[in-house]
Amino acid sequence: MLTTEQTIMWMEKMSIKVQENKEYLTSLDQAIGDGDHGINLSRGFSEVVSKISATNYNSSSDVLKDVAMTLMSKVGGASGPLYGTAFLKLSMALNEKESTFETFTTGVDEALNGIIMRGKAQPGEKTMVDVWSPVVKLFKETNEFNSDKLKDVAREAAEATKDVKATKGRASYLGDRSIGHIDSGSMSSYYLFEALAEVLSEGAK
């Protein structure tokens, strides 16, 4: 489903989205966290882009492995290990397999499991899990890739974190005062899936 080239385009698109929304992501994190999420991901994804544009790849899996390692060593904070783990699991799931909708579905599922394993958050705790989890559900419930649906599900899920009280991550320290603000990691996860949707729908044209 996802060619090596498309994987690279996915990461480039994600990087552009993160740079464009750096201040917005940071302001979301300032409201209920420590105000570095946009800065962290902007640093991380520019490193990702320089890394993968300087390397030749034979598979999606190899690209995603470098993405994982780069995020792990350049982002830090909570989102670094979480995104790093997610991409590592996705890379592993796609390794030496044909990239089909099914293998990709397994991949995002394992990525979500990786995030949960590392971060110990369940859905409903106002973390990026709240976006990854309905996205995985969508993949599992459908049998072909639908760009528009993916975008809608991810965006709605990210926006829905606004009404949730955080019990994991830094926002949890605020208790009820965390209600009324979108979770920054959920918003960046939405950008990630939006980028994927855009890459694949362009490819479809």
Binding site: G35, D36, G38, G77, A78, S79
Partner: protein, 330 residues
């Protein structure tokens, strides 16, 4: 944003250079890393102590590197936990054959990054143990949530575990005494003004002229409650009460730390200290040792935290021993 910096994205590297140049006889930056280590690291046959976290908390953590305290401090970006590879570099740089002990403050990011580094080090055959410090009573200690944060009380862990290691304690002994400090220390903070992460360029929150935040962390996060600003005595009373409600200190001896968050004049910290002492005296709690100053800051935030550590003879001896770290005098 008004800061004396060159490039908001290079503050950590610039700072590390300045730290190394300030103490060339005592400290070194491990080449191509963000690790500050004892000049004489690795120290053979000593348990090596590593702490760290995001930058912006200076003198934490590089100020606590030195004989009797830490072997290395790992600096992340401002308010961002360092990455596993950097922590691994620190572990390799200070490992002297008797194992490495990690002092982690309880934040999701710090815990994950340090644990990943520990896994990597163990894969290379280095024995690693850790303590996750969670002294901040502003946050409820629940196993369903992230739990309490680690704030200024962490410095007591550096000192006491550090002295234990320096005096020949094993990895297990160092861990045991670190856990004991963590069990017996509680902290709580407040702020009069926010701080600005250099790369963010604007303050993390806004407080009106008459407002303060109670239960603030050390990363510019809002606190747990916003209130009208009151007197130093009332502030000291509220913070101390929250701490005393959490453990029973009656009849015990304690160490007190009144910590400035960055922009608070030392004068104000001493005014708070006077009240804390009078509250403790009223309750029959004896102050064995007091620390007033900037130990764990949050950039240029105005505000303070109070930490109280319940002591026994072992902790007293370890706290009292001389240390040569630049930011901690006994």
């Amino acid at each position: 944003m008004k800061k004396i910096i060159n490039d908001p994205n290079k503050v950590v590297m610039d700072m590390l250079k300045g730290i190394e140049l300030a103490s060339p006889d005592r400290l070194k930056v491990v080449p191509d890393t963000t690790v500050i280590a004892r000049k004489d690291a690795p120290v053979a046959n000593k348990v090596a102590l590593i702490s760290g976290g995001g930058s912006g908390h200076e003198p934490a953590h590089a100020g606590y590197v030195g004989p009797g305290m830490l072997d290395a401090a790992v600096a992340g970006e401002v308010f961002t936990s360092p990455t596993p590879d950097q922590i691994l570099e620190a572990i390799k740089a200070v490992h002297g054959g008797s194992g490495v002990f990690l002092i982690i403050k309880n934040y999701t990011g710090d815990v994950m990054n340090f644990e990943m580094a520990a896994e990597l080090a163990e894969a290379e055959g280095i024995e690693v143990e850790k303590v996750v410090v969670n002294d901040d009573v502003a946050v409820e200690n629940s196993s369903f949530t992230t739990g309490r944060r680690g704030i200024a009380g962490t410095i007591f862990v550096h000192k006491i575990a550090g002295t234990k290691a320096e005096s020949g304690g094993s990895l297990a002994e160092v861990k045991a005494v670190a856990e004991k400090v963590n069990m017996n220390v509680r902290s709580m903070g407040m702020a009069l003004s926010p701080c600005t992460v250099p790369a963010a360029g604007k303050p993390s929150f806004v407080l009106n002229e008459n407002e303060m935040e109670i239960g603030i962390g050390i990363h510019g996060e809002p606190g747990i409650e916003r209130k009208n600003i009151t007197t130093a005595d009332e502030i000291a009373t509220e913070l101390t009460k929250r701490i005393l409600d959490d453990i029973d200190y009656t009849g015990s001896e304690v160490a007190v730390m009144v910590n400035g968050l960055g922009a608070t004049p030392e004068m104000e910290l001493y005014i708070v200290n006077a009240k804390v002492h009078s509250i403790l005296a009223d309750k029959g709690i004896k102050v064995y040792k007091t620390f007033v100053g900037e130990y764990m800051t949050s950039l240029e935030m105005a505000g303070c935290s109070i930490s109280i550590l319940k002591l026994d003879d072992e902790l007293k001896d370890l706290l009292n021993a001389k240390s040569q770290a630049s930011a901690f005098r006994v």
